[in-house]
């Protein structure tokens, strides 16, 4: 693994990142350093700017302002160094769905300049581990949500990146597929690589991640190890609700007619 060399530096360094869509500010000045070799969770409610941030970090969206460095290389000035070192699984973008699962991996790996025989070997192993071997000759357009996430993950892992960015990798995924994805990711980080993934499922983040950044309304509200972010709160969920200012919103007595005996 090459990640040993960069273990001391940050995997991702973001400075003053801004993005506006018309009147709406999606990302409002983010400064963040994500440590290498960690399982990192980017959490926040819907519309917090997680996808926009990940798109800018991975070079799929041009920021209005700010800089992004991945393993010490600027994403916009040195794309050659960055694109070979990262794997991406975006949310809301298609795959080449008219290829079969195996063809998609073969295409993706060869496009990255890996030798054909090596691509095919890795593809076979990834398809096996991700439980897609039986569907490898089916077109991706006929895949279920979970299968699509898994084939996307396989494509993102194929070139053995140092940093893996996953946008909502567990969204709409059944428990069995989720467990498979989890197993692969845990093995991957255990070897020293970095995983950055976004989610709004706190239990998941709490059980998977050792480092967390909390986003809300385009800003980072807190970041650090899981213990630091959780602080005094009973769970990450509780800490998160307090951070984004939704903690005190109790349903209280407003719905006191709901449930109970008399209708």
């Amino acid at each position: 693994m090459t990640s040993g060399a960069v273990a001391s530096t940050a995997a991702v360094r973001v400075r003053g990142l801004w993005k506006r869509f018309g009147q709406q500010v999606a990302v409002a000045g983010i400064d963040l350093e994500l440590p290498a070799g960690k399982f990192i969770g980017l959490v926040g409610p819907n519309g917090a700017g997680k996808t926009t941030t990940l798109s800018m970090v991975t070079g799929l969206l041009r920021p209005d302002q700010g800089s992004v460095e991945v393993v010490g290389h600027d994403v916009w000035r040195d794309p050659v160094a960055v694109k070979a070192r990262i794997g991406v699984l975006p949310e809301g973008l298609r795959l080449f769905e008219r290829l079969s699962g195996r063809e998609l991996l073969a295409y993706s790996g060869r496009l990255r300049g890996l030798p054909g025989a090596e691509v095919d070997k890795r593809a076979t192993q990834l398809l096996d581990v991700l439980d897609l071997a039986g569907a490898q000759h089916k077109l991706v357009v006929d895949y279920s949500t979970g299968m699509r996430k898994k084939i996307g993950l396989a494509a993102a892992l194929l070139h053995n990146p140092e940093v893996l960015f996953l946008d909502e990798p567990f969204e709409g995924v059944d428990p069995v597929s989720a467990q498979t994805i989890r197993g692969v990711l845990e093995r991957y980080t255990a070897s020293g690589a970095t995983v950055v993934f976004s989610s709004h499922v706190m239990e998941l983040v709490e059980s998977l991640c050792d480092w967390v950044a909390v986003m809300a309304a385009g800003r980072i509200r807190a970041h650090g190890t899981l213990a630091e972010v959780r602080g005094e709160a009973a769970s990450l969920q509780q800490a998160f609700l307090e951070l984004v200012g939704a903690g005190g919103r109790d349903t209280g007595s407003h719905l006191d007619w709901l449930g109970g005996g008399a209708r």
Partner: protein
């Protein structure tokens, strides 16, 4: 057995309710239905009048037989293209009901007779009978013929739908629907050409066709009326029997499929349980292509031409029009050999909006392009994939047109002009792909996402004008070769000249487009991700 008697009115009422409820959904839909109904009835009435006017004409039978055959073809094809048009066509919706096939077939057949389509068919068949019938016996046969013809048409639609219901409710069926407009457009071209051809050379051309068609159901029913008019009652009886036989066969086929559909698990379950799709052979194609990014890009582009319905529709349109225009013009004797360049021009259009054809999957390409060189190789791969089909096709069309016009001395210069034009289209296509990308919605017939129509216009028309300007040197040289006194001797030179010019300009276009592509990856991704 009481259920049997009651089923038919239930289904007819169901069909009527479905029609009524469909209309109740929106005023627009109601208006569309009323307008289409009026148009169909008017059209049907006009046809009826026209056919009545044809009464006594010696060519009445050929015309009528062809008309009925085309009508039957329409009935057979309609359910494949518009599967959602009639919900009672989908028998899987009735699976939960305890119905026996025989009464069900009868009831569904009766329900199918309700609607605009059957009304139009009725008008047309009636007109056809009037056109060919002479004498009381013939009219008596005619009444039977109309009923039989209508039933055969409806049963044909039902049988085709039942046999293909699994296809129609699956993704493949929806893919097929994208192609339907295209088949109709090309069919219209063929009909148009056929009509022109008939107009110029007379209806007697149809006689041999009619000799065959009057034995093919449901046109054989009309054939029977004609035979009865001539007094050949034996032949008439045979033709009627043939029609009845066809009807019985169709009903049997339909009934068998219906039974199978009603007693086996429904389509959605079957699809999930289906064994893994056949192994897609990756070997053959890949081995012929160059290694590295070039071959990888070419392979995917070529696969998409076949597998992606939108891309396929665009290609088939280009291929068909590129062939139809020069060849048909040549057939009619009005053509110029230079029309052969149409093939190159039409196919060159496929280079336009390359990244829009990827949809938002373009991100997979974007994450692997990190230099101008990568972008160049990507664009070159796509251009090469296009050339694999376009070069032989344009050459073939040119040679074919030349052969039909017998103008062999001009072949080299037309080929040269074709290649130059193709090169110019590829060059401008590559450049506009990088500069004016736009989204192609994957659903429906639209080829431009809302709000991007202007972009598409700039891209395609600006590109085509530029392509024409870019190939101006070769056009000028061609004109010179034709106008100058001893220019004819130099005509052959235009082939290598045009080919070299086309290759050079393509290369230049790719070179110019590559840095733009590499620098604008996020902007291109945003532009092609709408819809």
């Amino acid at each position: 057995m009481t259920g049997e008697a009651n089923l038919t009115p239930v289904f007819v009422r169901l069909k009527l309710s479905l029609l009524r409820n469909g209309l109740r959904q929106s005023a627009g839909r109601r208006a569309a239905y009323v307008v289409s109904a009026v148009v169909v009835v008017l059209f049907g009435a006009l046809q009826l009048l026209g056919l009545i006017a044809l009464h006594g004409n010696t060519h009445a039978l050929p015309v009528v037989a062809l008309l009925v055959a085309v009508l039957a073809l329409g009935w057979a094809v309609m359910p494949l293209f518009f599967p959602s048009g009639d919900e009672t066509l989908d028998p899987t919706r009735l699976v939960m009901l305890p119905l026996r096939p025989r009464p069900l077939v009868r009831a569904l057949l009766a329900a199918s007779l309700v609607g605009i389509g059957p009304l139009f068919t009725l008008l047309l068949l009636t007109g056809s009978v009037i056109a060919v019938a002479h004498g009381g016996a013939a009219y008596a046969v005619g009444v039977v013929a109309v009923a039989l013809g209508l039933l055969v048409c409806v049963a044909l639609a039902r049988a085709v739908a039942a046999a293909n219901i699994r296809l129609l409710t699956s993704r493949k069926g929806r893919d097929l629907a994208v192609l339907s407009g295209l088949v109709i457009a090309i069919g219209a071209q063929l009909v148009n050409f056929g009509a022109q051809h008939l107009g110029s050379s007379g209806l007697s051309q149809l006689d041999p066709v009619a000799d065959v068609l009057k034995w093919v159901p449901p046109a054989s029913a009309i054939g029977a009326v004609d035979s009865a008019s001539d007094g050949s009652y034996g032949v008439a009886a045979l033709q009627l029997a043939l029609t009845v036989g066809a009807l019985m066969l169709l009903l049997a086929v339909w009934s068998r499929h219906l039974t199978r559909l009603m007693t086996s698990p429904d389509g959605s379950t079957l699809q999930a349980a289906e064994p893994a799709a056949r192994e897609r052979t990756t070997g053959g194609l890949a081995r012929l292509l160059p290694a590295g990014r070039t071959g990888t890009v070419m392979e995917r582009s070529l696969r998409y031409i076949w597998r992606d319905p939108k891309t396929k529709a665009a290609w088939v349109t280009s291929l068909a029009i590129g062939l139809i225009v020069p060849v048909f013009n040549a057939l009619q004797g009005t053509g110029s050999i230079y029309f052969a360049c149409f093939a190159a021009g039409m196919l060159g259009i496929q280079m336009y909006n390359q990244f829009g054809q990827d949809t938002s999957a373009f991100w997979m390409v974007a994450t692997t392009i990190s230099s101008t060189h990568d972008a160049y190789v990507e664009l070159r791969g796509r251009a090469l994939a296009l050339l694999v089909i376009t070069l032989p096709y344009a050459t073939l069309v040119t040679v074919l047109t030349t052969a039909m016009l017998g103008d062999w001395p001009r072949l080299p210069e037309v080929l040269g002009l074709s290649f130059a034009l193709l090169g110019a289209m590829l060059a401008t296509g590559a450049w506009t792909s990088a500069r004016f990308p736009y989204s192609i919605p994957q659903e429906g017939y639209k080829n431009v996402a809302p709000g991007q129509a202007g972009l598409a216009w700039i891209s395609i028309f600006g590109g085509m004008v530029s392509a024409a300007l870019l190939s101006a040197p070769v056009i000028v040289a061609t004109i010179w070769a034709n106008v100058a006194q001893d220019g004819d001797q130099w005509g052959w030179l235009l082939l290598p000249l045009g080919a070299a010019y086309g290759a050079t300009i393509t290369w230049a276009g790719l070179r110019l487009a590559a840095p733009r592509t590499a620098a604008r990856l996020p902007e291109i991704l945003t532009a092609v991700s709408k819809g």
